[in-house]
Symmetry: C2
Subunit: 556 residues, 2 copies
Amino acid sequence: MGLPPKAPRDGLRVVALGGIGEIGRNMTVFEHQGRLLVVDCGVLFPEDQQPGVDLILPDFRYIEDRMDDVEAIVLTHGHEDHIGAVPFLLRLRPDIPVVGSKFTLALVAAKCREHRQRPNLVEVVEGQTTSHGPFECEYFAVNHSIPDAIAVAIRTAAGIVLHTGDIKLDQLPLDNRLTDLAGFSRLGDEGVDLFLVDSTNAEVPGFVTPEREIGGVLDTVIGKAANRVIVASFASHVHRIQQIVDVAERYNRRVAFVGRSMVRNMQIAQDLGYLNVPDGLEVDIDTAASLPDDRVVLVSTGSQGEPLSALSRMARGEHRQINIRADDLVVLASSLIPGNENSVFAVVNGLAKRGAKVVTQQNAKVHVSGHASAGELLYLYNAVRPTNAMPVHGEWRHLRANAALAEATGVPRERIVLAEDGVVVDMVDGLAEIVGRVPVGHVYVDGLSVGDVGESTLSDRLVLGEGGFISISVAVDAATGRAVSTPEVSGRGFSDDPDALDEAAQLVDKALNELAAEGVTETHRIAQGIRRVVGRWVAETYRRRPMIVPTVIPVS
Amino acid sequence: MGLPPKAPRDGLRVVALGGIGEIGRNMTVFEHQGRLLVVDCGVLFPEDQQPGVDLILPDFRYIEDRMDDVEAIVLTHGHEDHIGAVPFLLRLRPDIPVVGSKFTLALVAAKCREHRQRPNLVEVVEGQTTSHGPFECEYFAVNHSIPDAIAVAIRTAAGIVLHTGDIKLDQLPLDNRLTDLAGFSRLGDEGVDLFLVDSTNAEVPGFVTPEREIGGVLDTVIGKAANRVIVASFASHVHRIQQIVDVAERYNRRVAFVGRSMVRNMQIAQDLGYLNVPDGLEVDIDTAASLPDDRVVLVSTGSQGEPLSALSRMARGEHRQINIRADDLVVLASSLIPGNENSVFAVVNGLAKRGAKVVTQQNAKVHVSGHASAGELLYLYNAVRPTNAMPVHGEWRHLRANAALAEATGVPRERIVLAEDGVVVDMVDGLAEIVGRVPVGHVYVDGLSVGDVGESTLSDRLVLGEGGFISISVAVDAATGRAVSTPEVSGRGFSDDPDALDEAAQLVDKALNELAAEGVTETHRIAQGIRRVVGRWVAETYRRRPMIVPTVIPVS
């Protein structure tokens, strides 16, 4: 697939810079009449193959020379994989209007403050319509695992697009804010030309259990608890936390929020009226530690086994205030994100070893997903009846499953666009088609710097992480190539045995003498000779592949 | 907990060197009247925190000075986590009798051949009794996810011990070889003093579905397949493979085994009569590749996403003979071992992207566990009615769950021994108690070498894998400490930017001048100065933590 043609004059172009073919860093760029609209701008968290990386950003190259064409960024909700990269995009142009609902923008504002940015925020509510150049946006209430999520319909001269964002169809939501299926039906009557649909749970049959059923389960497990109770959950899952707070109150326990993001978000949620904590119920962690065990519920971060979180420190017995004792109850009211199993189970095992009872979604219904299962997606397709469907927010297995659902509801197979990041989709005369591909890569944030850690650095890290390195340093006479120092041979991450490299040092000595005898004086050739002899020796002796790092210093 | 007292004269001592507090490298040492009996000797596969390690062995230190006291090694079945470390133990004493059932010993023999060992094998069958010094062993049929598994009862003057090995209670096993619950009951009548019980699935409520039900599911999914079918499974799961072979025959498809261990084990299984492949049904992979797509089933390794496996190469489009096409069917008839999620999903996504339909245990009942669920464990406890129970084969969360089941059936809480690797349990006068702890650690195999890679090397690898390193090499005049070369500053795994370290090089220059001006000539002090200035610079500039590796070469 080559580079795309020029964007069609009266058509709509759609390019995802993240979030298709992967779960995370969602960002979709819509182009019409030379103007751009961005929906979501999130981060992706790194996997094993991306060691040392803090965050992965969408690749902005496609739009970085066209920042003045960007009319707005519309954010569907406040999760990191939808808003986390906003500050990095705003570095390219700080005054882009950032459009979203109240709670979403509150989280964006807090994030931007940490980056010392003051974004141009445009607050919207469901039912409202805003215009951004040639794009007219209409917002629909949807439910998800964070308050105030929206879907966005984008009207242009090229047709109507509906983007679900992250969505589920809880028919008994705690805040009574239903996903606006009626609005989607009305839009469907008008005619939706392109429907972008959350694929995360497309493989899961049936329907997501209502969030409110978690409340009953929490009531049972916390009600029976005789000692301290610790509940870990996501720091943005306000409705889950509300249910924990309600149960705590019912059993006459105080609540303490633990973990930086939990404390911050719950403050925001209370300030804006999304979380209701009765006066006097909340205490800080020091007060909580001083209360009788059966009078307190700690609400903590760390549900994914993050090693620095409060919960992980408790599991290792390293928490300053909280010392886990036999018959404490720990509830992980959270999903287990694939890839985090070892970390999470390490926490559960640490708690179990100390005698705590640990309740997880494996042994009780203490979590439900925020994403529509297959049954709900069928409702969406049948309400919207789109001309073209485009599964988004998913790995390939999810996209395929979502495509099968679209087809089952009557979207013709050739009108289902299976794209991935960078694939360019043009909609002209109501038909969406893949027309090319723009380069997109992984943009890594490591510490303070964005983009200087790339595939070559990561590949070195993988080699070093697997086998360490052996360094050989020697000073040579610049004129003759003869060694004027004893070669220093040392390894890191290679062996605990202090004599492991003795033989290699002798081989290096010998090789240096031979090279000098041959009259070799160029340092890179001497280094090459050292690398060859040490590399062969280590492969034969140890069958390992450390990095071999020769340094030859010419001295005159 | 301190070192244990001297082993009691007429008691029985039990020490697990692996397999309790973790899943893998199972090895339990029983001691009576100064003699030792070892049950199982397996390996553990490394996790993220053990980079570059191939295998983890039980720590033999506790017995390495007493190898002449070892009467025998009894192997309960042929999985790697029960037999994988046998060759390493035999290095300490090659003639130890290795006791096990026919299929188990066939796999041990094949493994030992790779290590150029000819072990002293003692074949037993269920119902048989063997004597090894003061230990009398009786063997019981049990079912598990490999043929010919046994439990072992150990009779000594100190009482009767029953060790389940890995066990489940399939009531309709494919080979009609039931777990000998009747035998366990008879032993229970006699009086079991200590019962060591598989904890792997103690957290899972209910009962494991019979293996034979997989056959019906495979029939449905493979029967409907129009193109090529690839089924991945464990290379030792003979009954699973038998069902795949049966379905293939039914639908007039040839079978090819793919992957070194699959080919080897299925040959052994056929030779010994555990697997029945009708004449002419099996073809090699080259023949399979030349057959029409709908006439072949490939039975492959790689169900855990191992990157070098045939299946992973197919998913990446890199397999020499097999090119995945739209509508190929791939079935992962296997569990998803925690920690392997990312690798397995990468394979599934690769296959889905190429258009294959992928069936896993997430969307069809194509796998059942080999370990008893809670319901089956209750049957075991009720049959055996032990005086003391000791959960084994599990992480802490599994041990706790198993202990709760023992207690529910009437084993008093104080008679349930929750130990972990290295904990010493003495049974005297029919009561088992923890009396101390012996040192056990992780023994790492990396390439050809055992044990030289330890915690210090692994910790260096973790640092290098996260942040790479910056090396600074400089030759100095041995007498004055003045640099006689330009310092070479270079990084690996640090940055893709070639100018990333320019500033650091200037700082090193400056620091060297200052140190020389202060009259510092000791190379380690100069190195320390360099490390300090570069470390501070990189933390402030990049907020990263690469390893800083200064080398100062004295030249006279």
